[in-house]
């Protein structure tokens, strides 16, 4: 389906990946004090390619226990998780001292990893609480663009309630290379872990509670062997999608009107819908367009992310066109599938397998295309595409596209079923 140069998404980029504008920060004396007190605890994390001995990616991290545990983002060290035989992870302290670290545990859903350094730390940061009053001053530390350890002042703006994975909204600028660094309060307690930015001082932190949970896991569970990482990630992803898909399927869905159809709207608070319609004199048809999506996605590797759900509606009415001609235009809007930017490499996913048929949806006929592809490393997860077109009206039509990334088979089918059954027609169309 053509999206008609209309992109309502809030583009979020991982800060290890996307350069953002560096804006000048006013450094207060407080920042100066915090930096002096805590720069010993913050480190740079480097992923070293064993073949060249050079770093392939960098991020930040911080020590948070006297035993030398270092926290960072999963996306900073993902290459070393997926191909431990090709990469190793090093840390570099503020004074230039470096050492190798061992990967202890990961949480792909919340983008966290815990590493263990062999040397005893010169200092460590205590873990705090992420429930603060909006407007609280926070200080993010890290090494942006490999330019040297820095501290940035910003404002805590609460947890994003309308999100599958509640992140802290941090009004300050995070830049590439700061991923995995700590965001601390005045007392030097860690409130969150730098993770991503949408640019223009809109940045996100992982709440520190997820790090505490992961740390508990490290302390209570035996360490994982290298080859078990894949199964472990698979287990985390499967559990996570069971969780939110379960919620999705159990809830009562809000509907909205598009043309003469009632369709699923913001079915959970985590979905945001945007709309647009047009009725131009020179066009041969009118249209109304709505798209809805979640903003969260889970980073798995530089070419693979998952977890997003997206759906859109395109209602078209002919301005007195011959049906053959109208259907030709209608068909053109049906022919372009959602661009699957989350995985474009054959190492990660299989080809889509599709089937199609005419399906009776609330007493009207729709042509339904139903496609799925699986993840090669996590075979229980699928990306699905459900594309539907109303085909029994001469002069109007509804196109629907539903995309869910990284869901289990049963959940995918149940979701598609519920979605199709939620589509109903207004009485004017049923005459």
């Amino acid at each position: 389906m053509r999206r008609k140069d209309f992109l309502p998404f809030l583009g979020m980029a991982l800060i290890a990946a996307m350069p953002a504008r560096v804006s000048a920060q006013q450094i207060t004396d407080e920042a100066q004090r915090l930096y002096q007190d805590h720069n010993r605890s913050v480190v740079q994390i480097q992923v070293i390619d064993l073949a060249t001995g050079k770093k392939t990616s960098i991020g930040s991290g911080f020590q948070f226990s006297p035993q030398g545990h270092i926290a960072t983002n999963f996306h900073v060290v993902s290459e070393a998780v997926h191909a431990p035989s090709r990469f190793r992870v090093d840390y570099v302290r503020h004074d230039g001292a470096a050492g190798e670290v061992v990967l202890l545990d990961i949480d792909v859903v919340h983008d966290l990893a815990i590493l263990q350094s062999q040397d005893s730390p010169q200092g460590y940061l205590p873990l705090g609480e992420s429930h603060l009053l909006k407007g609280t001053r926070l200080f993010a530390m890290g090494n942006p663009f490999d330019l040297g350890m820095s501290i940035m002042e910003g404002i805590y703006n609460g947890l994003m309630e309308d999100s599958l994975y509640k992140k802290i909204l941090f009004s300050g600028s995070l830049n590439p290379g700061m991923s995995g660094g700590p965001a601390i309060n005045r007392e030097g307690q860690v409130i969150g872990i730098n993770v991503s930015t949408a640019g223009n001082e809109v940045s996100f932190l992982v709440p520190v509670e997820h790090l505490k949970e992961l740390y508990d896991h490290v302390l209570t569970q035996p360490p994982l062997k290298r080859r078990e990482w894949k199964t472990y990630i698979n287990q985390q992803l499967t559990q996570n999608q069971e969780g939110y898909m379960g919620k999705l399927l159990a809830s009562v869905w809000d509907t909205l009107k598009v043309g003469e159809a009632n369709v699923p709207g913001e079915i959970l608070k985590v979905f945001k819908c945007w709309g647009k319609s047009e009725d131009k004199e020179e066009e041969l048809y009118n249209y109304a367009y709505i798209n809805c999506s979640t903003n969260d996605n889970i980073f798995l590797s530089p070419g693979l992310s998952t977890g997003q759900i997206f759906y859109q509606y395109y209602w078209m009415t002919s301005k007195g066109l011959n049906p053959i001609r109208f259907y030709h235009l209608y068909e053109q809007h049906f022919q372009y599938p959602h661009p699957y930017e989350n995985a474009r490499d054959k190492e990660d996913v299989t080809n889509f397998q599709c089937d199609n048929d005419f399906v009776r949806v609330d007493r009207r006929d729709m042509k339904v295309l139903w496609c799925a592809r699986s993840y090669k490393k996590y075979p229980e997860l699928y990306d699905i595409n459900l594309s539907m077109a109303l085909v029994d009206q001469k002069d109007r039509g509804l196109l629907v596209e539903l995309v869910a990334l990284g869901v289990g088979r049963k959940n995918a089918v149940d979701f598609a079923r519920k979605f199709m059954k939620e589509i109903t027609w207004r009485s004017s169309l049923l005459k």
């Binding site: 290298r226 041969l284 490499d345 299989t350 889509f352 397998q353 599709c354 199609n356 006929d365 139903w370």
Partner: protein, 329 residues
């Protein structure tokens, strides 16, 4: 009978030559004193004597070396009474004895366009075909345009098709000029234009067939079948107008050309088809509801019946992936 015609069929059979003789006795052999000199090394210097009789000829073998065969009896003979049309074999050369009065087969007429192919070049038909095709082309362009085009723009779209027909007709007119010394351009043009004017509706028909049975395979299959058959028929027409090839050969040649084109296109398709596509490739044809054939399924029937997409979305693990997991151990 005074006169004798000898048809010489050389060992390789391809070359025939005729010699006429007035003398009552004709000597045949490899020697240069003979009336008919044969260059076949298996023929003797003086091999045969052919003397005229009342109702034929008496053929005598005078060599005593390789002998003489008579075609109809396949026996070595010293002497034979031959009639007009009989074949004598000496060495590896065949000789057919003919009297000047020997009947000949009726004349094979040159294949020339008749019936439909003749009528197609009548001015009134040519103009009708051109107008009909122009209407088909403009309508085709009109149905597929995403804005309201002026008549001039529609017509210029149709001109593209007419130009293609013009090029095709010119090629065949050239072939006709070379082979038959007659270009027949008007007939070729009518044929080509008519071909394109029929091709577009047939291609559309296959889209409808595919849509109603819900299968991209059927759409492609019927399009190949229809267009292939139409192309073969019209190619036969082009050949008939442009060449003297017999009907049987025309059919064989045209069917072969069509099959080869289809085979090459299939081969190219599979050669250049992407092994991996990050986006779904689905059958998105939509047609107006005026001809609904099959009844629709319910949502549950559909989702149960299409479970196989999840099974086939798994592919066998490649050896490379296995190698990866080993190296991680």
């Amino acid at each position: 009978m005074a006169q004798l015609v000898i048809e010489i069929i050389h060992p390789l059979r391809f070359i025939k030559e005729y010699r006429t003789f007035d003398a009552p006795v004709v000597c045949v052999g490899r020697g240069y004193a003979n009336d008919l000199i044969l260059s076949d090394p298996h023929v003797s210097a003086q091999h045969l004597l052919v003397s005229a009789k009342e109702d034929g000829w008496l053929v005598k073998d005078i060599s005593g070396e390789n002998g003489m065969y008579v075609r109809k009896s396949a026996k070595v003979m010293d002497e034979v009474h031959a009639f007009s049309g009989d074949e004598i074999i000496v060495g590896r050369t065949r000789l057919r004895l003919l009297s000047p009065a020997h009947p000949v087969a009726s004349t094979k007429l040159l294949a020339s366009p008749h019936g439909f192919l003749k009528r197609i070049s009548y001015p009134v038909n040519v103009w009708s075909i051109l107008i009909l095709a122009f209407m088909v082309f403009t309508f085709h362009v009109h149905l597929r345009s995403s804005e309201n085009l002026s008549f001039l723009k529609l017509a210029s779209g149709a001109l593209g098709f007419l130009f293609a027909a013009l090029v095709w007709a010119s090629v065949w007119a050239f072939v006709g000029r070379m082979i038959k010394h007659s270009a027949q351009f008007v007939a070729q043009l009518s044929l080509s234009v008519l071909f394109l004017a029929l091709l577009l509706p047939l291609a559309t028909l296959s889209e409808y067939i595919g849509y109603f049975v819900n299968s991209m395979m059927t759409e492609t299959g019927s399009a190949v079948l229809f267009c292939g058959a139409l192309f073969t028929v019209f190619l036969i027409g082009n050949l008939t107008v442009a060449t003297h090839v017999s009907l049987r050969n025309r059919v064989v040649v045209c069917a072969t050309i069509t099959s080869v084109i289809i085979a090459i296109m299939t081969l190219l398709y599979y050669t250049f088809k992407d092994e991996f596509n990050p986006n779904p490739v689905y059958y998105a044809t939509l047609k107006p509801p005026f001809m609904k054939i099959f009844s629709s399924q319910s949502v549950d029937q559909f989702l149960t019946g299409t479970g196989k997409i999840f099974d086939s979305a798994h592919i066998r693990r490649t050896p490379k992936a296995d190698g990866d997991s080993k190296s991680q151990e």
